[in-house]
């Protein structure tokens, strides 16, 4: 296929503006998938993703469309829509030449619309807008068109007005993709140069690379080399997605498809890495970054006997998720489990939910922590991501915390509120740049620990959803961090300990004590909850003793009812964690995070 007849694009949109519906409709119109095979929103393949309406796993699809007698190959590369996966999104966008921006005809330009547009612009993509949901009575396409021009600054001389749901004007979108998005450039005779933008695990083929071929060709038998990892493999199979994986003889410059090369796990495949031919090597593509976990959290089975089941489940997930890492961990409160590293809180949430659903495990997750560099007085340097492993104060010379360089893009009117937020999060102002009249870039250095929890949500809230964030790790800085312990009935509960900045310890301690007071059920005795730094108690709450819990009537039929109730309560108790004599519900460990 000549390069001129290929278009590589992605669809970007605010959540709910109809990205997945449009993708389905495009496949539908191009006859890519028989209608009876369609489940709603084909691209989002995991149940969890479909439920949340967000795409996590990227599934590309190759479609054919004939215009003016010429057959074109249209490769749609889907992108996830969450800040945890910013890097993955950027690599997917790097595989495209253009993007279709979907804007809801009644909602207009919104938060994520802008955030994703910014990201696409950073990757030099050509963007053209379509206005979706014109079938809605509240549709106001002309106003939305004006918004697109004013707020985003895109050319709106021709904007397809569509209803993806009803299939209106879908062909116009296809024509626009062909007319407006540039064809890929490349040389199929040059050395192989392929961008890995994702990977997945297949039970038969092993780990499979999703690639965009920039230059050269690849076919079964090619000896390929991963430039960043240096690993070498023999290609077993190449193919495209229709959207099912479909075997091909060869992939050439401009193509989007997959390479299977008997790779054992997805951990051997690094998103952003460049694949070349061994012995005839190309230059690496720009933009590769090694992905490191951002947050760490302890995961424990509620039922201690399920430790091995949890281990097996994590190993299985690891096959298809290279960014998940885990090592065994022991807690006095929670027993045996694993300390796991994640890309962010959404990633953590997805993994724990998959563990619970797909492997039928009941889990306790401890509060996420970033990884600190701890310089000990004996000259030793250790990485600490588990608060309970922080050495005693007298053994610590200093603690350094990971710092981010955050770029925040926003319309100027929210700059003030955003800067307040950053200051509040111990941020250090670096710069503010006017990119255009209606778009500024604010640069801050922010401690990672202040960003991982809810910074993104807060940023969205103070900017009414318009601001977007990208960040990169920019090393470590000394910081006055302390270990905040929580004592229940006088005993430290290691699984509730946190590493926090001294200035925030009081507030945090009070918040946690109050929160725990609400989630710890009353028991037959009074339970003091204390927050302490070292030996100094900084906050205290009390869960009062239970005063009344009795069945008033217990005669003939009541006895059976009471016994059933007792069985139910016994089941409930099994889900509680016993810390000394105090019973804690599983959710207590995470609830301490949800504090303002």
């Amino acid at each position: 296929m000549p390069l001129n007849n290929i278009r590589n694009f992605s669809i970007i949109a605010h959540i709910d503006h109809g990205k997945s519906t449009l993708a389905d409709r495009l496949m539908d119109v191009t006859g890519t998938v028989a209608q009876r095979d369609q489940k709603a929103q084909l691209l989002d393949s995991m149940d969890l993703e479909r439920e949340r309406g967000i795409t996590i796993k990227l599934t590309p699809v190759t479609m054919k469309w004939t215009k003016d007698g010429t057959e074109y190959t249209l490769n749609l590369i889907d992108t996830p829509g969450h800040v945890d996966f910013t890097y993955e999104v950027s690599r997917s966008l790097a595989a495209c030449e253009g993007a279709v921006l979907v804007v809801d005809a009644s909602q207009g330009v919104e938060a994520q619309t802008l955030a994703n547009v910014y990201l696409a612009l950073e990757n030099d993509l050509f963007i053209f807008p379509v206005i979706n949901k014109i079938d809605l009575p509240s549709a106001r396409p002309e106003e939305v068109k004006a918004e697109i021009e004013d707020i985003i600054g895109l050319d709106t001389s021709y904007v397809p007005l569509i209803s993806a749901k009803e299939g209106t004007n879908i062909k116009e979108v296809l024509e626009c993709i062909i007319d407006k998005i540039p064809a890929p450039k490349g040389d199929e005779n040059a050395p192989l140069q392929a961008l890995i933008f994702d990977s997945y695990y297949d039970n038969y083929k092993g780990a499979v690379c999703l690639v965009r071929i920039k230059n050269g060709t690849v076919k079964p038998g090619t000896k390929i080399k991963m430039l960043a990892s240096g690993k070498v493999y023999d290609v077993v199979e190449v193919g495209i997605f229709t959207p099912k994986p479909t075997q091909k003889d060869i992939l050439s410059a401009g193509d989007v498809g997959y390479i299977a090369a008997s790779i054992k796990t997805v951990s051997d495949i690094r998103v952003g890495d460049t694949i070349t031919e061994q012995g005839r090597e190309c230059l690496p593509l720009p933009g590769y970054k090694q992905v490191h976990p951002v947050v760490y959290s302890g995961i424990f089975p509620v039922d201690g006997d399920k430790y091995n089941a949890l281990k097996d489940a994590l190993e299985k997930l690891k096959l298809s998720d290279a960014s998940l890492i885990f090592t065994p961990e022991t807690s006095t409160a929670l027993g045996y489990g694993f300390r796991c590293g994640f890309l962010g809180l959404l990633h953590l949430d997805i993994i724990t939910q998959r563990l619970e659903r797909e492997f039928n495990l009941d889990l306790i997750t401890t509060a996420p922590s970033v990884s600190y560099k701890v310089y000990k007085t004996n000259g030793e340097l250790i990485d600490v991501s588990n608060p309970s492993l922080l050495p005693p104060r007298e053994e610590i010379e200093r603690i350094e915390e990971p710092i981010l360089k955050a770029n925040i893009f926003t319309p100027p009117e929210y700059a003030g509120a955003i800067m307040d937020l950053c200051t509040n999060r111990r941020g250090v102002f670096v710069n503010l740049v006017y990119l255009e009249e209606k778009r500024v870039k604010i640069i801050y250095e922010l401690p990672l620990s202040e960003v991982v929890y809810d910074f993104f949500d807060k940023l969205k809230s103070v900017s009414h959803g318009y601001a977007s964030l990208d960040y990169e790790q920019s090393g470590y800085k000394p910081s006055d961090m302390v270990k905040l312990d929580i004592l229940l009935n006088g005993d430290i509960c290691d699984a509730l300990s946190l590493i926090v900045h001294r200035d925030k310890a009081y507030e945090r301690g009070r918040g946690i004590a109050e929160k725990l007071k609400d989630v710890i059920p009353r028991q037959l005795f009074e339970i003091p909850i204390q927050a302490a730094i070292g030996n100094k108690v900084i906050a205290r709450e009390t869960v009062k003793a239970l005063r009344k819990d009795v069945i008033a009537k217990c005669y003939g039929g009541d006895i059976s009812r009471k016994r059933k109730l007792l069985e139910k309560q016994k089941e409930g108790k099994k889900k509680m964690r016993k810390l000394g004599s105090v019973e804690l519900p599983s959710e207590a460990f995470m609830s301490i995070l949800k504090i303002d």
Binding site: L524, K548, A552, K553, G557, I559, L566
Partner: protein
């Protein structure tokens, strides 16, 4: 030697339904009532075939619903059937539930001549606004009149039910109620802390926020006032919710807590015989159809209790009583040392003032312990 059996008869009819009630009951026409009694008599005959050769009846309890809302003659009819098919001990305790405004002189005379020697009357509260809120259609004057009628018939063994902690019920109203009972020399009082049952109008009202429950502390205070007033006047608290003057404890109630055998006859009636718990259907039509067409009682659930379940019940029921859990009896029945098995938890609860162990080796709940008995039992058995 025949064993003792408690007999419970369920009458599922009421003139109106109280807002807090979740028992199986309906208003019912006279025809429906007569048809039901006909089936009840048939079930009595069937059950007698099964049990009469092994058991003598040591107590009878006619409950509901409102048994006294049956037409004149119906109760007499039921008793004649019982006497016809079952052996009833001469000293049997025979209790009937009464509603203060359905009891006429004629009916009470009918009940007493049929053998009833104990009456249990639902007073609930003497405050007329509270009674109205509960959906009850009688007054305290109706109650007093009923007591007089019963005493005129030579019966002194009377029990009254009261509810503690109903929405908008003041501590004053509760205390006045119990003092009224003490003044009236009612020798047995069942004081029930309100429990809100699924699907009742009360639950709806609370859910919608039309009514609010008093706080836990208030209910505890109210109950403690009731308890201390009764104890000061010579009553003994012989179970979580039951108080009696010496000689007036209910033998039938004790069957339940001592896990002795009892047979329930009628719709939704529960039985426990030789560690098998079984119950009839809760649907009156299904009940009658089954009796008539299949010629057998419509048993909806039956379960043979496992040894562990028996032990659990033993703990759960004996701790409800002032006799407490007899560790020697427990050892004899289950070959297990209760004190050793639960040593740590018992020590904890004794320290917290919830349980005591007396010199005879009985584990008993204190007043404070009675109020949190569910939790104590849960902790012990899980």
């Amino acid at each position: 030697m025949k064993r003792n059996l408690g007999l419970y008869i369920h009458i599922p009819f009421c003139n109106s339904k109280c807002n807090y009630c979740s028992f199986v009951s309906m208003v019912g026409t006279d025809n429906e009532k007569m048809s039901y009694i006909d089936c009840l008599k048939k079930e009595l005959a069937m059950r007698a075939k099964e049990y009469n050769s092994y058991y003598t009846i040591s107590s009878i309890y006619i409950g509901g619903g409102t048994p006294s809302c049956l037409p004149v003659g119906a109760i007499k009819d039921i008793f004649q059937t019982i006497y016809k098919y079952f052996t009833v001990r001469n000293d049997a305790e025979i209790t009937m539930e009464l509603n203060p405004n359905t009891a006429t002189e004629q009916k009470i005379n009918e009940y007493v001549t049929s053998g009833v020697n104990r009456f249990s009357i639902g007073l609930q509260c003497i405050d007329k606004n509270v009674l109205l809120a509960m959906g009850r259609t009688h007054t305290v004057e109706d109650f007093d009149r009923t007591i007089d009628l019963i005493r005129d018939n030579g019966i002194s063994n009377i029990s009254a039910d009261i509810i503690v902690g109903y929405p908008d019920q003041s501590t004053r109203a509760v205390v006045n109620t119990v003092e009224h009972l003490i003044d009236m020399k009612i020798p047995h009082v069942s004081a029930y802390m309100l429990s809100v049952e699924e699907g009742t109008p009360l639950q709806m009202m609370l859910h919608k926020g039309v009514k609010n429950l008093p706080s836990e502390n208030t209910v505890v205070k109210m109950f403690n006032s009731v308890s201390s007033a009764l104890i000061k006047s010579g009553y003994e608290r012989y179970e979580v919710s039951n108080f009696a003057k010496p000689g007036f404890t209910s033998r039938h109630n004790k069957i339940y807590w001592r896990r002795e055998d009892y047979l329930g006859v009628g719709v939704a009636a529960h039985s426990c015989i030789s560690n098998v718990r079984f119950s009839n259907t809760e649907d009156v039509n299904e009940y009658c159809t089954c009796i008539r067409t299949k010629g057998k009682p419509p048993v909806a659930h039956a379960k043979k209790l496992t040894l562990d379940e028996q032990k659990e019940e033993y703990i759960m029921l004996s701790l409800r009583t002032s006799e407490g859990l007899d560790t020697k009896g427990y050892m004899e029945q289950y070959g297990e040392n209760f004190l050793a098995k639960y040593r740590d938890k018992l020590a904890e609860y004794i320290k917290l003032g919830l349980l005591v162990i007396d010199s005879e080796g009985r584990v008993r709940a204190t007043d404070k312990g009675f109020l949190v008995l569910n939790r104590i039992i849960l902790e012990l058995v899980s």
